[in-house]
């Protein structure tokens, strides 16, 4: 028996920090773009989406990792999909019961978490070959990496597009009177793409190792 790893070893730390920075699923791997364009018009749906995805990735990674030695490799994709789909349905049902208005706004995108490439990617790349605890950390970290970008994009889109944060007006009245106007383009999907592009740009100029030679 190998020696038991401490709960927060440096390896776990790297597993956790990687997706937040140099392996970020959106800005570096460019996965999960579809939903990040669609649900970032306002901060609240983006927040709920980020939490939902984090929970689904975390627990599907954990479950797959727990049963990884029993899964016949020929049907492993199907097993992964069943686990993801079950978790997504549970999340969807809970949203419908407790945050009905947000679940209406997210509409099909909750169901589409099933097809979010980040989740399948993490299951294939990490959970099938690692122990439950690191897998769980990896899942949560990837969810957070996805969520952070979602929240940053939604923050700017809601602020500049509607002059609000979490539904509360923050742009003072006198600015509107002085001729300031909300940017209607921010509400439309193209500006989400451009915002993500700007984030990628900033991310790369800050972390030079990401720049391809």
């Amino acid at each position: 028996m190998s020696q038991k790893e401490p709960l927060f070893s440096s390896k776990i730390k790297n597993t956790f920090l990687g997706p937040l920075n140099k392996n970020n699923p959106i800005t570096v791997l460019v996965l999960g773009i579809c939903s990040s364009l669609a649900v970032t018009v306002q901060l609240k749906p983006a927040l709920i989406m980020a939490i939902s995805v984090t929970i689904v990735i975390g627990f599907s990674n954990l479950i797959i990792s727990l049963i990884r030695n029993t899964i016949p490799s020929r049907i492993r994709i199907i097993v992964q999909l069943v686990v993801i789909a079950a978790l997504v349905i549970i999340v969807d049902q809970i949203l419908k019961a407790y945050v009905y208005d947000v679940s209406k706004k997210l509409s099909v995108f909750v169901g589409l978490i099933i097809t979010n490439c980040i989740i399948m990617g993490r299951l294939e790349a990490f959970a099938l070959g690692n122990k439950p605890w690191p897998s769980f950390v990896d899942g949560i970290a990837n969810g957070l990496g996805y969520g952070i970008i979602l929240i940053i994009v939604a923050f700017f889109r809601e602020l500049l597009g509607s002059g609000k944060i979490l539904g509360m007006t923050v742009i003072p009245d006198f600015l509107y009177k002085a001729g300031y106007e909300n940017n209607g383009l921010m509400i439309l999907p193209p500006m989400a793409l451009i915002t993500i592009g700007v984030i990628i740009w900033i991310h790369r100029s800050w972390n030079k190792t990401l720049i391809e030679k």
Binding site: T70, P72, I78, A86, I94, K96, A97
Partner: protein
């Protein structure tokens, strides 16, 4: 590792059954709460047709306060006892022949003590169902306010029926012409003439949704004709 076919079949069967049982429990456990949310939403929609703004928290209280009576009638205008209007599923009723339909009406008393009649409507848009509520003044002819919503109309085009801008147009339009014939309200492509009492501007780029809305208004309000024409129904 190589697994036998038997192992794979048993493995997948056990997995599927486990997941199915789990999901059933979740769905049954959360059903009452979801059902409640849907009822609250319906109350909010009904009240929004009489220009009363609600939140999910106060909708139930405001509904009790303003909706003083709910009745169900048949197409002859006779009241059907023992049926609660709120529980009538309008979607199912529109598939029945006119004579057999249950027609719910919500009667609202506003802050100025005016009586409004609220009629639920249901129809087809381009991609899916559209529905709403039409509130009439106590002359049972002039529209006081409307509310429309949709399941999956195109955002920016057909989905505009759910906006206040579009719904505002219906205020003060009339269902009957001067001779007392039922003409309903139509959406008119290219814009309705200014003094048209029975027409509103259709949505550019949302022709099929607009036409669906016209059809919905005509077909679901038509069965109420006897009730609407009879000005002396006692409440």
């Amino acid at each position: 590792m190589n697994y036998s076919n038997k192992y794979i079949i048993i493995y997948s069967s056990v997995m599927v059954v486990t997941v199915a049982i789990l999901l059933t429990f979740v769905a049954i456990g959360l059903k009452p709460q979801q059902e409640y949310n849907r009822r609250v939403e319906k109350m909010q929609n009904i009240l929004s047709s009489v220009h009363i703004n609600t939140t999910t928290k106060n909708a139930e209280d405001l509904f009790k306060k303003y909706i003083i009576k709910q009745i169900v009638i048949d197409s002859k205008g006779n009241e059907q006892k023992n049926i609660v209007a709120f529980d009538v599923n309008v979607e199912k009723q529109i598939h029945l022949p006119q004579e057999k339909r249950l027609l719910p009406i919500f009667i609202c008393k506003t802050d100025n003590n005016e009586i409004k009649y609220i009629i639920p409507v249901y129809g087809k848009g381009l991609w899916g169902p559209i529905w709403g509520y039409v509130a009439l003044n106590d002359d049972k002819n002039t529209v006081f306010g409307v509310f429309f919503d949709h399941k999956s109309e195109t955002p920016g085009l057909g989905a505009e029926i759910a906006t206040l801008e579009f719904q505002k147009q219906f205020v003060n339009k009339k269902l009957f012409d001067e001779n007392g014939n039922f003409v309903s309200i139509k959406t008119i492509k290219g814009g309705a003439p200014k003094n048209d009492e029975h027409g509103v501007d259709a949505i550019s780029g949302g022709t099929i949704t607009s036409d669906g809305l016209t059809k919905m208004l005509f077909e679901t309000i038509k069965p109420y004709e006897n009730f609407l024409k009879n000005k002396n129904i006692e409440l």
